[in-house]
Amino acid sequence: MSSSERKWKTIESGPHTYEEALHPVVRKNYGKWKYHEIPKPGVLKHVAESGDAIYTVRAGTPRQDTVDMLRLLCDIADKYSDGYLRFTVRNNVEFLTPNPENVEPMIRELESLGFPVGGTGMCVSSVAHTQGWLHCDIPATDASGVVKSMMDSVYREFKDMQMPNKVRLSTSCCSINCGGQADIAVVVKHTRPPRINHEHLSLICELPKAVARCPVAAIRPTVVNGKKSLMVDEAKCICCGACFGACPAMEINHPEHSKFAIWVGGKNSNARSKPSTMSIVAHNLPNNPPRWPEVTEAIGKILHAYKEGGRPWERMGEWINRIGWKRFFEETGLVFDKDMIDSYRHARTTFNQSAHVRF
């Protein structure tokens, strides 16, 4: 449709307004909440200074939803929560109702439709993730399929509240790690330098941009068959894939050599310890669709050891800080190796600059 035919003049409105999306009891008690309880897994009760209470029922979703699925969630909201619903940053759906009698029927209906009720308190939460093969232009794997496989394997832990503290999961389809820092993260790790498509490179890439993108200055201009192209110093290359985003002819993705790594101990909250970044604890796991069994097995080992050994309120990283990395590897059965010693910027901040030793 050309501009001349357009009747509508764009309103640059920014975010959708929120007031009409708030339940009337929320609107009435906005900013005047007193405390909350978790009466059972998947249910929150918030009490306001006015004495009003609102109940939240939380359920997992696939995140990759459809209009049909969302209409179904709207039906539930119309039936049980006066036509209001919201989503959490970990892709759960929430229904808020002032009527406690709606809670149990709503749980039954959500469960019967396949939406697991849970995701509250000391549980394994749903996975923060991005797009993968479904939609991304640089992925080495799929996101939603890995997530589905992971959540199938921790389904009970999502619905229970039996962990020492909450466990945040994430997954990412390249080393940019869009899924973010998490207690356990599953992230693609390339193991070979990019293959260079010299035929296409000068046609589709801005050479200086690709050179500038490399964090270790491993990319240099060259001429191949009379055409301007790039070359990679493979000894220097750290297989990060940053060049691929700038230049799709730097082919980093590989069906065999793009592997998975598992990271633990990321934490965003300020509660107790300061926010922390993750450490790598397994790598070279195969990218094995459609169910990625090696990945879910490793996650299972980590979760099992944490559930057994963690004290109340200890997040994954805090538990490891107490027991030490040596015992972490012993108790999870994962194997520490030399590639897990940091060799990048700020590496010395991860060295043990003390005589503190664990045996």
Binding site: Y30, W33, H36, D65, C74, W133, I138, D142, R291
Partner: protein, 417 residues
């Protein structure tokens, strides 16, 4: 697989036992994807297949075919491009199939990023209208939500984008950010339900993103810039790590204590729990047991939230509330992960004037970044490269000991003389 035949494997549509059964009419076989219909967690594959069988949209069939092919070959097949709406330079994520000869129905599969309401609140009227417009013009696939906070309407062809946008825009929706500009923001539920919300993050989110709406639609900075707004230091939006501009609620005075509720908590859980789960876990040892009662030395408190989380009925944030402002969070690409660091320890955030003062500060910051940043450099990287000292001088802030974990451990600087 555990629970494969359990209730949850039915997926999200009543009266259908499995999406697999819908196969065989409109869709082509997708044996690998079908494996993802097993197991108790709701299956996106079942959802896509049901949608495809109902709507008979060729794009859905093509995308499932291409995804199956990705699963078989372990490679991705989308490439970017440039699609936009009138007057905007961002907001549509363009995807063309690299193998459209093989899967012509998947030739185009563009995404429209849409900014949701702060706090991700919806009325069913809003959401149903969004679904109706999207089904009319696009594939009907929606991701709630993208990691930057957008509603992701996935799967539309270029020639339908403008008309779809116009209808969405009339219904109160606007595109989200992309590229080197302001990005869509994220807020936690804030004062909408949480007793720990220390400021109205939904309001600040709305005002800030409205203020920067031009920079969001027409990106022209060094790189992306993301806001996240968390009501308290629990930071449920993960703002410290996930955003360049992290706005986190906090308080200045003492934690509010309801002594009767503290006693009730101890009565229910025992003194051991008070010692092991509250007192011993305080990161600055600000809590002690005195004559059998819990005492908080507020001068030692760093407002981490742990004791409030453990005793939500007994303890609340203080009364003098506002925000702490951190900057520079980003993930791994190039220099490695960077956690945001503290720039402003406390600002009031109650009145419209407070919001204006905050936005003036952000304007100063963006101006400084425009002058000092390099192409494809996040602002946290610029601050580290140029210097935090130079940065605060540049934007007119005084040095504050809260900006660092400790003073420097080397003498390599030149003071003014």
């Amino acid at each position: 697989m555990e629970g494969a035949n359990g209730a949850a494997s039915q997926g999200a549509q009543p009266g259908k036992e499995s999406g697999k059964e819908t196969n065989g009419t409109f869709l082509n076989p997708t044996p690998m994807l079908d494996e993802l219909e097993n197991g108790p967690w709701p299956s996106f594959v079942s959802g896509f297949k049901r949608l495809a069988e109902r709507t008979k949209k060729p794009m859905l069939r093509g995308v499932l075919d291409q995804l199956e092919y990705s699963y078989k070959t372990r490679m991705g097949y989308w490439k970017g491009g440039l699609v936009t709406v009138d007057g905007y330079g961002a907001g549509i994520i363009t995807r063309y199939s690299m193998i459209k000869d093989k899967f012509p129905e998947a030739a185009e599969f563009h995404t429209m990023r849409i900014q949701p309401a702060p706090g991700l609140h919806y009325s069913t009227a809003m959401l149903r209208e969004l679904c109706d417009i999207w089904e009319k013009h696009g594939s009907g696939i929606i991701a709630l939500h993208g990691q930057t906070g957008d509603i992701m309407l996935q799967g539309i062809e270029q020639d339908k984008v403008q008309e779809c946008f116009d209808e969405l825009n009339q219904a109160g929706w606007d595109l989200g950010g992309a590229g080197a500009g302001m990005r869509t923001g994220v807020s936690c539920i804030g004062p909408g339900r949480c007793e720990n919300a220390c400021y109205d993050n939904l309001k600040l989110h709305l005002k800030a993103l409205q203020y920067y709406v031009g920079a969001l639609h027409r990106p022209e900075w060094n790189y992306k810039l993301k806001f996240k707004f968390s009501g308290c230091p629990n930071d449920c939006t993960n703002s410290i790590m996930r955003s360049d501009l992290a706005v986190i609620g906090t308080w200045k005075d003492s934690i509010q204590v309801d002594r009767d509720e503290v006693r009730a908590w101890v009565e229910e859980r025992g003194l051991d729990a008070l010692v092991n789960q509250v007192i011993n876990l305080c990161p600055t040892r600000a809590i002690s047991l005195r004559n059998g009662e819990m005492e908080i030395e507020n001068r030692d408190c760093v407002r981490c939230m742990h004791c409030l989380n453990a005793m939500p009925k007994a303890l609340s944030p203080g009364k003098e509330r506002g925000i702490a402002f951190l900057m520079g969070g980003k993930n791994t690409l190039k220099v490695g992960v960077n956690m945001g660091s503290l720039i402003v320890p406390f600002m009031k955030m109650e009145t419209d004037e407070d919001i204006e003062a905050f936005l003036e500060l952000i304007d100063e910051i963006i101006d400084w970044w425009d002058d000092n940043g390099l192409d494809h450099e996040r602002i946290g990287e610029t601050i580290e490269r140029v210097g935090l000292k130079q940065f605060i001088e540049g934007i007119g802030l005084e040095a504050d000991i809260n900006m660092v974990s400790r003073p420097r451990d080397n003498p390599y600087f030149k003071a003014e003389y």
